[in-house]
Amino acid sequence: MSSKYGGYMGKVAQVDLATGTVSPYPWTDRDRELFIGGKIMAAKILSDHLTGKEEPFSDRNLLVIATGPLTGTGAPSSSRFNISTLSPQTGLLASSNCGGNFGYYLKKAGYDALILRGQAREHTWLEITNDKFVFHNADELWGKSTSATQQALSDLLTQRGGPDKSGKLCIGPAGENRVLYASIVSNERISGRTGMGAIMGWMNLKAITVTGNHVVRAYDAEKMMAWNRKWFRYLRSHPLTGEQLPRIGTAGLVSQMQMRRILATENFRYGQNESFEKVNGERLAEEFNVVNKGCLTCPIRCARTVAVDGQEVKGPELETLGLLGGGIRNDNMELLLRWNYELDELGMDSISAAGTLAWAMEANEKGIWNCGLNFGQVDGISQLWENIAHRRGIGDELADGSRRLSEKYGGKEFAIHSKGLELSAYEPRHAVGMGLGYAVSNRGGCHLNGGYLVILEGLGLNIDAQTPKAKADLTVMFQNLMEMISATGQCLFTSYAFFPAPLMSRPNAWYTRAANKLLPHTGMVIRLLNRCPRAVHMHLSPVFHHTRGFQYATGMPMTFGDYMNVGSRGYTLERSVNCRFGVSAKDDTLPKRLTDEPQQPNNPKTRVPLKKMTPVYYAARGWDSNGIPTPQTLKKLGLKGAD
């Protein structure tokens, strides 16, 4: 079952852990054309299995680990892989993307994707070598931290001979104990959001290693190489991907967010943190950074390494820095770095852990839940992470996340989540487009799945952050774009280069100011493009290298319009699956704090005018007024019958 297209290995394996059987999953070239790979492919597989009655922790749920066609071809930043499942946190279809090397090696083993289902009878780890799937007992690994687990596996594989050349993913104690926001870890990179680790924990699956000796070949290797040269050079010379991200990483955004009043502080009460300079990216880079690291195939190298107890470990990303910094009124960077490391070791999502903690602190302050946690009180937090991961004491309750806690104790208005997933560190009352994104996002309160309009609302360009004008249409466009970039197996940071360099490096130039003024008035034009993306029958190559790169790697014709169209197909397909689970307009919400309470009491505009934006968003997407994709829209996108 090979593919006529380059970049694909042509095989998908279905693994039933309950019976220990492996079988091929039918996936045709027609499917590849429509659903490409990664999260869109996973959405299609899940769509074919989920009816709307399944429970996340059940043998009717699937965990789909999918790579994109560019993974392994050598395209820049293309080592990403995607994990999708019915999330225990949101109860809906959710996806999580990771930059570890598992995807690269999965393709070396000859597979584009793995579909896991069922509960193993004993603690298990799975070893994949090309077509050989071996289930091992994992009693000795159970309870181990994520780095200790990977080290133990590495030692074992090295003992058998030769260097350990394998991709690994594993869960930590949090996943084993089904903490609802447990993560899956591959190397030091984390598939953090939506609680994928808990599903693996339910499956009794501690880890997977994969290796093989297949080679991923591009369709037109010569053109691909020439294009890669241009593409790598472009990314290395762009002000965002060639300077800002390598120099201060995502953490560098903290100071910009402070300036724009979008730095979530004290459980999103405020948009600014007066002691931000103690926990920002500049301080991280100057005082704590040991060395920059990058994922395999990536020239951007945005990851940081810091020292904790004399050991070099992964540094925090912006979201962790914001939420475990000002978010809980902590200004101790050393502690923050330690927590970030501990959360990775326990296998827990730092965004949701921090969001839940901030809610608990406020609930304690208000007397709703006397848990003894207070803003600014940082002693004992390390122990608290342990307690959450092992579900001990109040940790057992905190392990269920802020939505369930607020349903139990009250305080929903300040439980900062959307669809059960805690929001990232961007405070949306000063970036209302981001607010819309958080609310409508398929996987819940995620900045990336939400379209990441903050890039226009102060972090790249500087359009009016309070106006709802054009935000819905821009959100649709950015969501579609990022959906497709993820599906191809590339990192979303490659899309930064979509913004021409002069706009980023010269924020006060006349053309940048003109672009800022103009963008909110382009709603209708963008709507037309979103509705008929295929009208853009071209490549936009000077700034957007993805379409040509994709074409050379796979041999599939692809223009910018086609690219956006597949993104739209993926996003709407995920929504349709979620609609089977009862999602509609009533779920596309934000907590009252963000929609009703102005961030600045004397400026009523500083809140998210969600009710004004969601109807426009639904119309822009071709969904009905209740947020359900219409049969016509589904048909137009090639998804007939997906409702």
Partner: protein, 136 residues
């Protein structure tokens, strides 16, 4: 795809002692075999075998080459983007990425750190996405 050992094998064990991924097994003076799941087609066995008993992954018999004539990778610093694909694929682990000179330095390149270990297999050059590596 992997290399294969024909019945010309005399069981001298030279290949199994040197295989970087330990894919070759066999007793002394007995014909050896290559595990097709472990073999990465580096070709070292073929370069060493004095009996012409190794056939490459396209079915062509491999030719013995003295170590002094093995080629070494040369990396073009102007093209290399430090993407680490060569490092990840080198079966002898003799490549690594240079150290950054300052925080945020992205002008690092891949380096052949231990040329004495290099077996001149050319996997690095074959996998390099930008064609920055040539064997000379």
């Amino acid at each position: 795809m992997s290399y294969r050992i024909t019945d010309q094998c005399k069981g001298c064990t030279l290949c199994s002692k040197n295989c970087p991924v330990m894919a070759i097994t066999g007793q002394t003076k007995q014909p050896h075999t290559i595990d097709p799941d472990r073999c990465v087609s580096c070709g070292l066995c073929g370069k060493l075998c004095a009996f012409g008993a190794i056939v490459d992954d396209r079915g062509v018999p491999a030719v013995k080459i003295p170590k002094s004539q093995w080629k070494k990778p040369e990396i073009d610093p102007a093209l290399c983007a430090a993407c680490s694909v060569c490092v990840e694929n080198c079966p002898k682990e003799c490549l690594s990425i240079s150290n950054p000179r300052y925080h945020g330095d992205i002008t690092m390149i891949a380096l052949l750190r231990t040329p004495e270990d290099c077996i001149g297999c050319g996997i690095c050059a074959d996998r390099c996405p930008v064609g920055a590596i040539t064997l000379i």
